[in-house]
């Protein structure tokens, strides 16, 4: 069984992740890619830089892969999060899961990305077309304070 999580500075390749998660006994592979998009909260984004508490983030990505494989397994799980500056349409996160059947694959994939967003110490700073940059706070409350 494969259940791994890691950080990378390189582009994320969906095919490589699918191969890494694949197994002769698993008939369904699902690859989720989170990619940089041009608009967030109504503001025009040109790039995002991602940073992390790297040692802790790597531990938690591995935790999520293992916990996910236990909850919705048997399964293989590969989770990769990219750090550094990413342009539009570049993938910041890639999650490949493989299960015997697709029901479990969809549940597992969704669980992994939700947990990643909930608990992994990674941060993003959006770059806007007007030249400003801002840390993104999904909880909302602290955004004003950090402006």
């Amino acid at each position: 069984m494969t259940a791994v999580g890691r950080l990378t500075n390189e582009p994320i390749d969906a095919s490589s992740l699918a191969v890494e998660a694949g197994s002769p006994s698993f008939g369904a592979i699902l690859v989720f890619l989170g990619v940089v998009r041009d608009i967030n909260d109504g503001r025009s984004v040109t790039a995002i830089d991602y940073s992390a508490y790297e040692a802790m983030a790597a531990i938690l990505l591995g935790d999520i892969a293992r916990e996910g494989a236990e909850r919705h397994g048997p399964a293989n799980v590969v989770i990769v999060h990219r750090l550094g500056e990413l342009g539009l349409q570049e993938a910041s996160v890639g999650i490949a899961v493989a299960n015997a059947h697709r029901d479990d694959a969809y549940q597992l994939s969704r669980w992994c990305i939700d947990e990643l967003k909930r608990r992994v110490p990674i941060w993003k700073r959006e770059h806007y077309t007007d030249g400003t940059r801002e840390w993104v706070d999904p909880t909302g409350a602290a955004v004003e304070a950090s402006r």
């Binding site: 992390a52 508490y53 967003k117 110490p121 700073r125 840390w135 999904p138 409350a141 304070a145």
Partner: protein, 80 residues
């Protein structure tokens, strides 16, 4: 004891540094640490109960901090 507190992202920006040195009594808890830094310049950006990690795991306010522990203040996460 002297504890090094790691800061990241918006917190590092607010405090103007990637780490703070904090003097704490022995047996101090995470809650004690937060009280100790509440007067530092930049602390106004912290929420009421900021996330703290001790040795790369999320900690509770009652978690004790030992000399040599790796302690970090975790801004709201935004991965994905």
């Amino acid at each position: 004891m002297s504890v090094t507190l790691l800061l990241f992202a918006s917190y590092a920006d607010a405090f103007g540094t990637p780490s703070l040195s904090v003097e704490l009594p022995e047996q101090a808890t995470v809650a004690d640490l937060l009280t100790a830094i509440s007067g530092r310049s930049g602390a106004h950006v912290l929420p009421k109960a900021p996330l703290v990690a001790v040795n790369q795991r999320y900690a509770h306010p009652s978690t004790r901090i030992a000399s040599g522990d790796e302690v970090a203040l975790i801004p709201p996460v935004a991965g994905g």
